[in-house]
Symmetry: C2
Subunit: 289 residues, 2 copies
């Protein structure tokens, strides 16, 4: 199958409550290879430093739902066979992956390549980007789950690169029986993931790639390397342990076995580029300095 591949830009930042996601999405789009099919951008309110509101347990609930509906509308209009999503925060994959599970009639497999499980609920966080995979499986806040027409079956979901999480998250992934391959299990081989794909008879897979699955010593454009963070700001929070070559090998091994129909690249936070952009704007002759 080749089919129509939609490139979908979603510069969403409110799901992680961090303005830098918006610029990170623009730079990610600039860095990406040219699209081979149609390109669409979901309208996202530009950050203006004014902050976001807590709305019944979720920061920016109403604007996130609005953007979610816009993404779903683009997907309905374009009816692609495959979708490349360039985020934005992790939540950007909610509408596209929900669309793909409809498109492939409940048979979509999801490989979640991430240092975090993204199955939190408003009881554990106010940031919707940490809830997205739960929502895709019909778990969590009703405003979000009701927008997933066909929830993805937990047995068709696997994590790659996940190795630790909070007690509440452990409880959830054990309750749902979600498979996982840790970074150490994926150092030399993609076998755990390939075996899972075979075991469920997967034909179509959507891959969520949160860039924070990569070791920040290799890629410093991620959440945990923000240059203004206190040294202990992220104590206890798992940070990525995979290398870029391991991620590339894993995704290509998967693509040899099953059709990759979805790929979301998320959580790009290019701190250096932001530093340089802001500095140039403040200098004489070139900026407003």
């Amino acid at each position: 199958m080749s089919g129509k591949t939609l490139r979908l830009h979603i510069p969403q930042w409110q799901g992680g409550n961090l303005e830098a996601y918006h610029f990170g999405a623009q730079l990610l789009a600039w860095l990406a290879p040219a699209a081979t099919g149609p390109v669409a951008t979901v309208e996202v309110a530009e950050p203006d430093g004014s902050g976001l509101s807590w709305e019944d347990g979720i920061v920016a609930r109403s604007v996130l739902l609005k953007q979610l509906d816009r993404a779903a509308q683009v997907l309905r209009n374009e009816t692609p066979d495959k979708v490349v999503v360039l985020g934005g925060d992790c939540l950007v994959d909610l509408a596209p992956f929900a669309y793909l599970n409809e498109r492939y009639e409940d048979e979509l497999a999801i490989l979640w390549v991430d240092a975090h499980p993204d199955v939190m609920t408003p009881q554990q966080t106010a940031h919707a980007h940490a809830m997205v995979l739960g929502n895709l499986m019909g778990q969590g806040d009703a405003n979000f789950t009701e927008r997933v027409a066909r929830p993805v079956k937990p047995e068709r979901v696997m994590y790659a690169g996940l190795f630790d999480m909070s007690p509440a998250e452990w409880t959830t992934i054990e309750r749902l029986g979600l498979r996982r391959a840790t970074p150490s299990q994926l150092i030399d081989s993609s076998q755990p993931v390939i075996e899972w794909l075979r075991s469920i008879g997967a034909k179509h897979v959507a891959i969520h790639l949160d860039l924070d699955v990569i070791d920040p010593a290799q890629l410093r454009s991620v959440y945990f390397t923000r240059p203004d963070a206190a040294p202990d700001a992220f104590d206890g929070i798992p940070q990525g342990r995979m290398t870029v070559p391991q991620v590339v090998r894993l995704l290509n091994d998967v693509a040899e076995q099953v059709e990759v129909v979805g790929l979301g690249i998320t959580e790009h936070l290019p701190w250096d580029a932001i530093t340089i952009r802001d500095m140039l704007q403040a200098l004489p002759l070139i900026g407003k300095g």
Copy 2:
């Protein structure tokens, strides 16, 4: 004076013998505020992985001279009053600053904001980007110095952010009597630079900003943070110690005293962006994976 400001893109990489400068220049141009005047790009051979030749003491001597002549031609054609240069390696400032010293009739002051003095000769290095300030003062290889119609007088040059260098470089800057303000002298005040500008009666200044003057803990898109370097690869080589706010304050303090007629931003090496670009190209669905 307002006058005509030329934005000059020079994606030169051969002066530092590192292909990444070429991409760094493109990203720098993308990050910069919109130009207020004409924009020109100096044609530079695209890197293709084939390497460069040592030519009588200088790597890529002939192509560097060709690009230097092209830059000078653009400047002659445009005859701007001011120039913003977006590099590329440090050598990109040779033609523009030489042009400005002609334009301002030997009265240009040069502030060299850099962790390195850039006064080497082919006896000390084969990389022309480490020779550029020497060349501007008429020092060094004849092929380069003969292209500087009016050498800049050493008393009209000052360093900011320089704090250590090789014995040969010390000898040169002491022989020429070049002023300098170390990072520690510039922490809270731009006074050493302001006093120098007053002492020489400067009216027009060109500022060379090598991004490696900034502490790599603040800005990791510089030479010394390349992710594939061995831990001891840069032992003994000075790395920047200024902060971004200090650089911004210094340049704006200078601009309050004298007219900034030249600004070159150089040595942008966005390793993370390169990593992500290459990774996306290698992934299934979005790239050639």
